[in-house]
């Protein structure tokens, strides 16, 4: 049944999207502002992007963020996938419900508490705070998101595929790498993207666990905004938005192409 597209629907959609995207659109527009004043339009210019390239503090922060994101997302994906496989595949073992619950808990835990508890831990074991403490902190919370995403895919994955691989002489490890992993790969990739994005925009946990020389971009932006917004910040944010959009689009297109091409050929 085709639903009629009423004026009410149109207004809802326009207002909804405006609410979501108007701030971002404004941010992008003002990043091309020639004026130094953030809220006054002074003509089109890309000079803030040029000056950004000379702002070492921001470039350093961006580089730290990127490294933390790549390293923490990758390790979190490995650990989270292993956790999901253990929870789904090992059948009923003692305390399984507890473990499943415990993997979900960090998702709803207030960030302030996660950050503070990690800080206390690092102080207690006398770990020098810096790049690695931020990375470890990011791994510990983004791993749970990966586990949840991969777990939901594994539940629907036909177990007999893995059994068939074993039956045909593959060792359990090869069966996992050659059969299970390619089939759950979209979920693993999505988990990685999620972990990377979470790491990229985290401010609270990073602030708690960081040390000298490991200022991330969100922290840098936040501290600069407190001194006043400059169009340079708008430019940085625009680049970030562009990067995230590109990543999400690539992931979507990649999974869509995987899912639809064989059928399209067969029919």
């Amino acid at each position: 049944m085709m639903r009629r597209f009423t004026a009410f629907n149109l207004v809802s959609i326009v207002l909804g999207f405006a609410f979501l995207y108007l701030p971002i659109v404004l941010l992008v527009i003002y990043s091309f502002n020639a004026s130094r004043l953030v809220t006054v339009w002074g003509g089109f210019s890309t000079k803030w992007y040029a000056s950004l390239l000379e702002n070492e503090a921001i470039l350093d922060a961006a580089w730290v963020t990127l490294r933390v994101g790549l390293v923490s997302a990758t390790i979190a994906t490995v650990l989270g996938t292993m956790g999901a496989v253990a929870l789904v595949r090992r059948g009923r073992f003692f305390g399984r419900t507890l473990f499943t619950g415990m993997i979900m808990a960090p998702l709803v835990m207030p960030e302030v508490i996660t950050g503070l508890s990690l800080l206390l831990l690092f102080v207690a074991v006398d770990f020098d705070r810096g790049f690695w403490t931020v990375t470890i902190a990011h791994i510990s919370f983004s791993m749970c998101f990966v586990a949840v995403v991969v777990q939901s895919r594994l539940v629907t994955f036909d177990r007999s595929l893995e059994e068939a691989a074993l039956d045909l002489g593959a060792t359990p490890l090869r069966a996992f790498v050659q059969v299970t992993l390619p089939n759950i790969f979209p979920a693993v990739a999505a988990g990685w993207m999620l972990a990377f994005t979470l790491s990229l925009d985290d401010l609270v946990i990073a602030s708690f666990t960081t040390g000298p020389g490991a200022t991330t971009l969100p922290m840098k932006i936040y501290s600069q905004v407190r001194l006043g917004v400059t169009p340079e910040i708008n430019a940085v944010c625009t680049i970030l938005v562009a990067l995230v959009t590109l990543g999400v689009l690539t992931a979507t297109i990649a999974t869509k192409a995987r899912a639809f091409s064989p059928q399209a050929e067969a029919r």
Partner: protein
């Protein structure tokens, strides 16, 4: 020629030879899942090149038995031996058996070719040999034209063939088939049954098949193990299972049958005389030890019951009168439901060998049902 059970005489009968060594042995195998006993202390011998069917309703333990042989389940008690070597502790990927899964379990991200080559690659065979063997088995199952397709570009019947090709590519000692024809439509299933028999004969493999379809088991298997609630209740050739069932369960599970409760009246060396609770007497060939006064059951198949208007010559024995209650006409044969005076409905079928019948049997006719002394069997259980 010696009289034999059923219409088929088979020359392949290693189980009848006391000197023959079994190929696969289940010895006192029990499998428990928590409180539930899936397989209950069962012993079974399967011989080389045998086509063996495990037959039973769902939940009877037949799939568990198969999965224990493949190594996906570990017996709670007992041993499984292959060529006299115990399989305990051998993981699935080191067992010389291959399985065709009920869901086919084809790898969706690999082409047909790569699916079939998967097992050979695990053995690190040279590339050229893998290519040759993949081409050979695909030709055997007539799928060589589809080598480059992905599983989701194939029909159900084609997928079944690829799954079969993949399972036989490694030339396993035993091929396990879990409901191999379950997902096919009726016509395709009948064709595939004969193809499987031919394949088994060509390759000379031992097949163990799990099925709930009695027709499938009867057509394909050399021997059938009928299972019920974790126990094997009878192991025998299809003809023997059909013509000489050991219990009411087996008689009723395979084909259609009339069963009467009876008391043993007299036992002579040739005959057992019974008095049924439905009020007629039976004299049956004696091939079972029964004592006078014992409660037994008399089972006779519908096609072995004659139906006629006229009373048979010796109407006092192996005959009973009744009223035609229902008729089902199938073309080649007709099935009559006859209501005895005791109220019991008895089934009798007749081949329609002639096109024109002078005095056809019709509804509410008074008819006689009769059978010969070797038509039925006495069941103790």
């Amino acid at each position: 020629m010696k009289a034999a059970l059923g219409a088929v005489r088979r020359s392949f009968q290693p189980w009848a030879d006391p000197a023959a060594k079994p190929f696969i042995t289940f010895r006192g195998v029990t499998k428990r899942f928590g409180q539930f006993v899936a397989v209950d202390n069962q012993t079974l011998e399967i011989f080389e090149r045998e086509f063996h069917a495990l037959l039973g309703p769902s939940g009877c333990g037949k799939t568990t038995l198969l999965r224990m042989l493949a190594g996906f389940e570990t017996p709670s008690e007992g041993d499984i031996l292959l060529e006299d070597k115990p399989l305990a502790g051998v993981p699935p990927h080191r067992r010389p058996v291959n399985m065709m899964f009920q869901s086919y379990a084809l790898f969706p991200h690999m082409s047909v070719e790569a699916n079939v080559a998967f097992g050979l690659k695990q053995d690190k065979l040279p590339k050229s040999e893998i290519g040759d063997r993949v081409a050979d088995v695909l030709k055997l199952v007539k799928m060589e034209a589809f080598a480059r397709r992905k599983p989701d570009q194939l029909s159900g019947g084609q997928r079944q063939r690829v799954a079969l090709a993949r399972a036989i590519a490694k030339r396993p000692k035993v091929l396990l088939l879990d409901e191999p024809l379950g997902a096919l439509d009726k016509k395709l299933r009948e064709e595939t049954q004969f193809e499987l028999i031919n394949l088994q004969e060509t390759l000379g493999l031992t097949f163990v098949i799990v099925t709930h379809d009695q027709e499938e088991a009867m057509t394909m298997a050399d021997r059938i193990s009928v299972m019920d609630h974790g126990r094997i209740v009878q192991v025998a050739s299809p003809a023997e299972i059909y013509e000489r069932p050991k219990s009411r369960y087996v008689a009723d599970f395979i084909g259609s049958v009339n069963i009467f409760e009876a008391e043993v009246d007299n036992v002579t060396p040739e005959r057992i005389h019974l008095a049924t609770t439905d009020g007629f007497d039976v004299a049956c060939d004696a091939d079972i030890a029964a004592a006078k006064g014992q409660t037994v059951w008399f089972a006779v198949r519908p096609e072995k019951v004659r139906i006629s208007h006229a009373a048979p010559a010796d109407a006092g024995i192996n005959a009973v009168a009744g009223e035609v209650w229902d008729i089902a006409y199938f073309g080649d044969m007709t099935l009559f439901n006859v209501r005895l005076d005791s109220g019991r409905i008895v089934r009798a079928s007749a081949m329609n060998a002639a096109r024109i019948v002078e005095q056809p049997i019709t509804w509410e006719d008074r008819v006689w049902l009769s059978w010969s002394a070797d038509a039925g069997v006495v069941l103790l259980d």
